[in-house]
Symmetry: C3
Subunit: 371 residues, 3 copies
């Protein structure tokens, strides 16, 4: 169950640099490609001639040429030409709205008429020279909502990431969960703690001492359908914590775009945005490697959790205070799905419903202002 | 859906040289083996004792001895003996008609009483000292009819085999499709074109220039249930093309026996028959390697096409003029299946129906006369 | 179909030495672990918080701490604590009776109230300084009853293990099958035969000649639900065979605990108990390696048999005199299952039934006395 009338991150530009990309999003098999440099298109990955996946083809003169018999498909889903054929009556294939923005390829798997690019979330750190971003993509065999739960309850860090970012104080410090506009926000502030290995290394890299108490914070911001941005950082204790001046702290934004592939698999676009040493490509690589290891730990346990949940279908899970972020996020998701269904039921038409709520992304602004 | 009252190529002799072979044909699990040198048998791959596959056993004194507890099975499907047992009342297992001919093992998966060896297609190039044959076997995860489509529409060569046998003129030259007796024949003649890499190499090997225009031809001959023979060649332009005298041309027959394993998988016995340098074993090896690469390209796209067709069940595919060969072939196949079903419906008996049509193989004769 | 109100070997101690073990037994997913050194517990492998498998966690102060968010589970299935939570109302998870005995971890997958440790079979060779044991565990993709059949009809040795323990006389010598109390016993005595390679090596290792006729015996003892102990040995011919004095013979007990994982997969705990050179660890290793190869041969054919039986569902298999051991064993198993179902049907309560029959294990005593 996933909302469809909404934008999902479907790919990163490097994935379509050389060739079309076949990718399943919300159960829809898509081919995503560049008709011409700088252009973008997403279509059903199905050649109307004999059903071969168009993603096996090549782009030629703006058309996607099927790799089987050479049907040339236009980016509107209509066949442009085929050697020796009149193609006017060929059935069209479905076109999916696709937009390149903030360094990602966004796709709208639902009703195309509703796909307003203005609904793509604003990411304050993206395309901002004061910020650098690095990240990668993991394929994870779990329901996308398990990943949201994971990111909205960071007490797991103590157990899953004990050697890098986990520390006992995460468990011991209460979290507050609030709905703020279109966001669910979970905040945890740990004052006067010793930083775990990941943050000690970051402190050193900033020329800050790593053996003194720090104030650590985690602010998780969920925006529907499945985006989680987490402001994380440490400041030398007593300088204001989250609000401390830049010279006393190290902070960044953990970026998570969680895109359903099927009911039980997902694409995990993860990364980190930072506003320090933004020209330092080696640091970007180093952070990406570290994050890659951390998120591989999540992936491992989430895939086991998925199998377990499937083995005990219908069994109730607990919803504790620490789970409130995930619970609220699922509530927002369920509302989106219900709204889509209601419109379909009322009109008999598929998926013509109210647009997804505009995401205002106050978090990114907050981060930027804190930097 | 496949006809069963017909002969299929099930194996090559080398596959049963040392041990029994377990192989599924049209959904039937068979063990194929040599009871004695030069003899051949095919049975259900099921030991009546405890159900172990007989193909794990060994041949001993003409019997197939089960590798589990030593039941000795006769080639008529009746147990010959078992240590310490009276076997007279043991249930028989099904025997399948099997014939070795033209360098292949042919099996009849349907009603044994109808299995007339005279119905095995005549292959003019087989067992003819003026011809040499080389080939191999691929297992392909697709409906066998997708492979027939593939071979009856060679416009795919331009896209799938662009570095070997593909060339733009294949697309641009109309194909003619005719039903000739029990065959579907697709013909394409490309006059005055430059030969693609595969044929340039063949021209050189014949001492012919590779930098001059040639007349190229492709004559695809489908015989039910699933055999496709393709006469292919090039002649120096202006010498008569397909009809040119041997010294001006290079030609051969692409041999394709397409045997269903299940509804969505198949055995692909492919090869090439040629009537030049027939003693040259190294050339046979070289051609087999080249063909192997080409057919691996087909296999890759067909397996993707199969997945795609399964993901969009019921979705109509186009049937263009270039698809006429496959369409006509499927029509013949459907008729065979309908005839088998009709007889079953009328008599209440399984699969007693009219014999499959005799395949007269005029193409092989044509090739031979052209040589 | 398997009895559940009975003890199964679920693991060996080394498997839980360092960390909790996740293992499926009779369709139940369990975590088996040591709460404290020397203690043992088995629980549902499901954290009541978010469903993660508890087997991914760690033991800490006697509790099993979930590796996801730190819920601490007690060995009674009740949550002990969780950081920042009141856990009193947390739902309990199922506890499974588990006992460590005779060098194995035994689990009772059925009604806990019926789990009397006194029902665990007595193994005379276990924890007896005059005996040594070595063995290992294989996962086999077959119905556990196929493995019982395999072990109760050793005529397969001639075919499956022809290079080690097989010999033609096994086939040729009749077997007797008797029900003795709670056991099914198959006996075969082969007098005056030449020993096969495995036994020749053993004779040499005992300083006995390997080129003289021997009396060989095989006594297979099945105890429900799925334990098979096989007394095997050879004595120099004419010294009394099975009853011969120790200096004239070599003998041991093949140990087989066969534990269903699912309807079509199983855990095979195999080994050998011997009462000679019991201090010789290298010999133990050597025997384990030899047995490992032999049982890998069984595994290979059983997995093929399973596939074959699944491909021909409902097809009857033969039940010959050599199969009587397996047939009688299945009859005992079926009675246990029927008894469990009858009680459930009569009371409407799940799996509260008569306890599994006590296994008196006369065979082990017999082996000991023969040694």
């Amino acid at each position: 169950m996933f909302p469809k009338n909404t934008w999902y991150v479907a790919a990163t530009p490097n994935e379509i640099a050389d060739r079309p990309l076949g990718r399943q999003i919300c159960g829809h098999k898509l081919v995503i490609y560049r008709p011409r440099p700088g252009e973008l298109a997403a279509l059903e990955d199905f050649c109307p001639h004999r059903g071969a996946p168009l993603s096996l083809g090549k782009v030629c003169d703006g058309a996607l040429v099927c790799g089987y018999h050479g049907l040339a498909m236009g980016c509107d889903g209509k066949t442009v030409s085929m050697p020796g054929q009149r193609v006017g009556a060929f059935p069209a294939i479905r076109r999916y709205p696709a937009v390149e923005r903030h360094g990602f390829i966004w796709v709208w798997p639902g009703e195309a008429a509703l796909a307003d690019p203005a609904l793509i979330p604003h990411l304050a750190w993206a395309e901002n020279p004061d910020w650098a971003y690095g990240g990668d993509l993991y394929h994870v065999r779990c329901d996308y909502r398990l990943m949201i739960d994971n990111l909205m309850d960071l007490t797991h860090e103590t157990y899953v990431h004990s050697t890098s970012i986990g520390q006992k104080e995460i468990d011991e410090t209460p979290v507050t969960t609030r709905i703020e506009g279109q966001e669910v926000v979970c905040r945890r502030y740990m004052d006067g703690v010793m930083a775990p290995p990941f943050w000690r290394a970051n402190l050193r890299a900033h020329g800050l001492p790593d053996d003194q108490p720090v104030d650590r914070w985690q602010v998780c911001r969920f925006s529907p359908p499945s985006q989680v941005m987490i402001e994380v950082g440490v400041a030398l204790a007593g300088h204001g914590g989250y609000e401390a001046a830049p010279q006393h702290k190290v902070s960044s934004v953990v970026v998570d775009f969680i895109t359903p592939e099927t009911e039980s698999t997902m694409w995990y676009f993860w990364g980190m945005a930072r506003n320090f040493r933004v020209q330092d490509a080696e640091l970007t690589t180093q952070i990406r490697q570290g994050q890659g290891q951390v998120f591989a730990e999540d992936t491992a346990i989430l895939e086991q959790q998925q199998k377990s949940v499937e083995a005990w279908p219908g069994r109730k899970l607990l919803m504790l205070n620490i789970d409130a972020g995930g619970v609220q996020a699922r509530r927002m998701i369920d509302k989106m799905i219900a709204a889509e269904c209601a419109v379909v039921a009322a009109t008999g038409a598929p998926a013509i419903g109210p647009a997804a709520p505009k995401t205002e992304s106050p978090h990114a602004a907050a981060v930027a202002s804190a930097a």
